[in-house]
Amino acid sequence: MVLRKTGYLTKEELVNSKCYPSEERFNKGPIAIVECTEEIPCNPCEVACKFKAIKIGKPITNIPILDENLCIGCGLCIAKCPGLAIFLVDKTYSDKEGLISFPYEYLPLPITGSIVEAINREGKVVSSGKVIKVLNKKSFDRTPVVTIAIPKEKLDEVRGIKRLEESKDSK
C-alpha cells in the first residue's frame, strides 16, 4: 500500500474501498468515515458507538467496518479514536456546501465563524472554509472536534485545517 511510503491514503484509494459510504447514504445526512486501513490491535471506536455502527469484533486487529445504515452521524466516535482517523462528513448541509468534522488537538483552536484554510490528507491547502463549530467537551478528553463548511466537491478530500498562528483567528 502506498500509505507505507507516503504516510497518507489517497482519495481514490479510500473512495474505491468498501469502507467508504455510498453516495446514496451521503445524500441522506451526516455520516462518519473511519479512515483506518491497517490491522492494529485497537477497538475504542467500536465501544464508543452507541448505535453499534462500527464493527471490529475479535481479534481486535480487524479493520473497523462502518455500517452506513446504522450510523446516524452523531460524531461521538471522532474524539474516541486514538489514531485521530475518524471524520464526519455532511453532504446535505446546503446546495453548494458541505460540512466536515475532524479531531484537532492543537492550540490555538479556531474561532467559530472565522475563515480557515482547509487541507487534504497530504497537508496541502485545497480550499478555504468557514468554522461552524468547535467542540471541546469533557468527554472528549482533550480531543477537540472542529466542524468547517467547505465547497461540496471538496468533501472527499479535505480532512482538516492548516494549523493557526498564535495571533490570528485564535481563541
Binding site: E105, L107, R142, P144
Partner: protein
C-alpha cells in the same frame, strides 16, 4: 522557549519561581524543575565542554544515563542536570573537562 499553554497539558500552573546563578548570571527558574529545563528555557543549550577537543555538549538522553548534560552545581562537578531539580540560590557553572570541585 516555555510551553505555557498546551491542548493536552493545559496551562502551566507552576507559578513559584526560584533564583539560580548560571556562570555568574542570575536566572529565574520554576521551582522544582530540572536544571537543564531552566537553562533551556533561557536559551542556554551548552552544559559542558569536553576534555581534549573542548567541544560543546548538551542534553542527549534526558534520563540521566549519558552524562552529556553534566555541570558543576554548588561546586560539585558531574551533576546530571537532566534529572536534578533546581533549588533557590543554586550556583551552576559550565563544566570544563572533568570539572573542578570547590572542595
Amino acid at each position: 522557549m516555555r510551553v505555557d499553554d498546551h491542548i493536552i497539558l493545559g496551562k502551566d500552573e507552576r507559578k513559584k519561581m526560584v533564583e539560580i546563578k548560571v556562570d555568574g548570571k542570575s536566572i529565574q527558574a520554576k521551582k522544582g524543575e530540572m536544571i537543564v529545563a531552566a537553562l533551556m528555557a533561557n536559551g542556554i543549550r551548552i552544559n559542558r565542554y569536553t576534555v581534549k577537543k573542548k567541544e560543546p555538549r548538551g542534553i542527549f538522553c534526558g534520563v540521566g544515563q549519558c552524562t552529556d548534560c553534566v555541570m558543576v552545581v554548588n561546586g560539585k562537578p558531574n551533576v546530571r542536570t537532566c534529572i536534578t531539580p533546581v533549588e533557590d540560590g543554586m550556583i551552576i557553572e559550565t563544566q570544563y573537562g572533568v570539572g573542578k570541585s570547590n572542595g
